[in-house]
Amino acid sequence: MQAYIIRRALINIPVILLVATLVFFATSVLPGDYVLQRLTSNDSVENATPEQRIKHLADVRKELGLADPVGVRYVKYMGRLLKGDFGTSFANGQPALEPFRDGIPYTAQLGLMTLFVAISTSLPIGVLAAIRQDSWPDYILRVFSILALAMPNFWVATMILLYVVRWGLWEVPITTHPLLWEDPAGSIKLFGIPALAGGLAAGAGIMRLMRSQMLEVLRQDYIRTAWAKGVRERVVVLRHALKNAMVPVLTAMGLTLAGIIGGNVVFESLFNIPGVGFKILDAIRARDIAVVQSFVIVIASFIVFVNLGIDLLYGFLDPRIHYS
């Protein structure tokens, strides 16, 4: 078990380095760099001749370390990364992870709320649809899941937002963005809409997988044995069937988590929530590449290790799974 964990963690290291490489080259081919994006709009050297301007740009590039060829920059970048240094933001000279730290409470809250909606809708609905297969509840719940999968989540959020404001159901705080522990009511009013829209969409896939897995497990011999022993339905479904059906569902949840983090980019820009997604979008637009790189590496590491954690959970759910 321990050896397995260590080996999996070691496999993750080249994966993260690959991610770092990928994001480095993706950011280095972005058209226009930070200097061009920022300094041409508000040039500090007024009334300069074109030559002076070009020299000024070159100076700033050199100062920010953008003047080296790509290969040199890549080696420097990987070297810094291996020492745990993510570089500094071009925009304010602070460590590149600073904005990440500011944004993480918002993204964490939105992500957890979305995950809560996804799990609390998908698991009960999936189980219910499976144990009442081919009944009216099953049909209705299946139609619901198919629809939830087809509806764009940003559209659902937009429609809820428009109608909430139109019918005056509640005031959506668009200019402020309170966190749950700062202002619980206001926070729910703002985060509730994206969490609901994102959660339903993310849950729809899990819902269908849950249903099909349950149907498969419910046909197994050990379930028939449990029924024959006279075990109550609740226990058969929850303890015997659900636990065994959960393994593929958990894998799907890991993938869903990546989807939720990505989906938050859209919601955070729609609802003006200054989370990680909002800031990464800003950084990409401003070509503040150190920030983009550090964000992506941290997010990717998080996802990789969540997936490792999920793999380890299998053993608790299904003791037949051995790690070797």
Binding site: M151, P152, F154, W155, L161, I261, I299
Partner: protein
């Protein structure tokens, strides 16, 4: 006794029906699609929706009623068609009119028209120049017989724009899925067939692709050019979707290459390339088709999401961008966002349903694994 193929003549019985496989190809196609629809009514519905979307995309020029880029403004009710036609806007935006514009323009009526759909309008075209001269554009009018779904925030006919939007959705959905399947299958087959170092390397790359939140990967890739056009977007979406295809084809290849026919081919001295192309690939064809069809909806949704936050093709008519424009109209006029979103939902629904049904028929092992390809 050897029997002749085809109808068998037996005394007393007219003839026994031919088996289906003896019938002509198109007849077989018809019967098989009929059976598909009967056995999978939801899949049949999906195919119908796809058919409608393809029809809309192909014949957009005919069924759209108006040019989707044309801004409409209100005209005086007594303005005759000839007078309205005298106002010509050249492609460069230059306005040439014989009578002064004011003859055909009634600002009061235009204001009324924005509130009251029953006011009958005669329409002229407006260019940005003319909007600046004080002419009233029909911003977001309610549905009427002239504009079936109303107009958008620039006074353009919404029905026409939704019809034209089908083109982008199809190019993105089919294009991205094609790119993902072509590249992903190649990598998956190589990875599964050769194993060893190639397999290890490809799998780590796939791992690192899957470690990205797909949407963020998409953001990065789309920004690598200044103004992404729709073909570039389709390519990038396909690139992001490769990981899933590689996984599925690799596992299919792993089981297919152990089959006896591969051993037989190897025994008679077939090369690796030949075995891969002639023996392995045809045998993993059904999972590939399933992957191709089931991801189309997810790609359409992903592009819509990109366009919604303003990072799509800036020149294309995109449903995602239009949902955002509808949102900008505010809660007083939610209809535009509603209509466009419905078009998006129904299209994605059609592709998902057809993909699910096809999967059930072609590859029952994958049943229930539907999803949005990680988006």
């Amino acid at each position: 006794m050897a029997q002749k193929q085809g109808a068998i003549e037996i005394a007393g019985i007219e003839s026994i029906r031919k088996s289906l496989s003896d019938r002509p190809f198109f007849y077989r196609l018809l019967i098989n699609s009929g059976r598909f629809v009967v056995r999978k009514p939801l899949g049949g519905f999906g195919v119908l929706v796809i058919g409608i979307v393809i029809f809309a995309a192909l014949s957009a020029d005919v069924i759209s009623r108006y040019d989707p880029e044309l801004s409409f403004s209100a005209a005086k009710p007594d303005c005759t068609a000839e007078q309205a036609a005298e106002i010509v806007v050249s492609p460069t935006g230059q306005v040439t009119t014989k009578p002064p514009i004011s003859i055909c323009f009634d600002p009061i009526l235009a204001l009324q028209a924005q509130e009251e759909p029953l006011v009958r309008l005669k329409l002229t075209t407006a260019s940005p120049d003319r909007i600046q001269t004080g002419e009233r554009t029909l911003v977001s009018v309610s549905p009427s017989s002239e504009h079936w779904l109303g107009t958008d925030l620039s006074g353009r006919d919404l029905w026409s724009r939704i019809v034209y939007g089908a083109r982008l959705a199809l190019v993105i959905g089919l294009g991205a899925s094609l790119v993902a399947v072509l590249l992903g299958t190649t990598l998956g087959v190589v990875s599964g067939f050769f194993g060893g170092v190639a397999d290890m390397a490809i799998q780590r790359v796939v791992d690192s692709f899957q470690a990205f939140p797909p949407f963020i990967l998409l953001l990065l890739f789309t920004q690598t050019v200044d103004k992404p056009n729709k073909y570039f977007l389709a390519f990038v979406l396909g690139l992001v979707g490769i990981a899933g295809v590689v996984r599925i084809t690799r596992s299919a290849v792993l089981s297919a290459k152990e089959d006896v026919y591969v051993l037989a081919a190897r025994t008679i001295g077939a090369s690796d390339t030949r075995i891969m192309a002639r023996h392995v690939l045809p045998n993993i064809f059904s999972p590939i088709i399933v992957v191709f069809t089931s991801a189309i909806g997810a790609y359409i949704l992903a592009e819509a999401g990109l366009a919604f936050i303003g990072l799509g093709d800036p020149l294309a008519i995109s449903w995602g961008k239009m949902v955002n424009e509808g949102r900008a109209l505010g809660p007083a006029k939610p209809l535009m966002a509603l209509f466009v979103g419905l078009a998006l939902t129904v299209t994605v629904l059609g592709f998902n349903l057809a993909g699910d049904a096809l999967r059930d028929v072609l590859d029952p092992r994958l049943r229930g694994r539907g999803g949005r390809a990680g988006f």
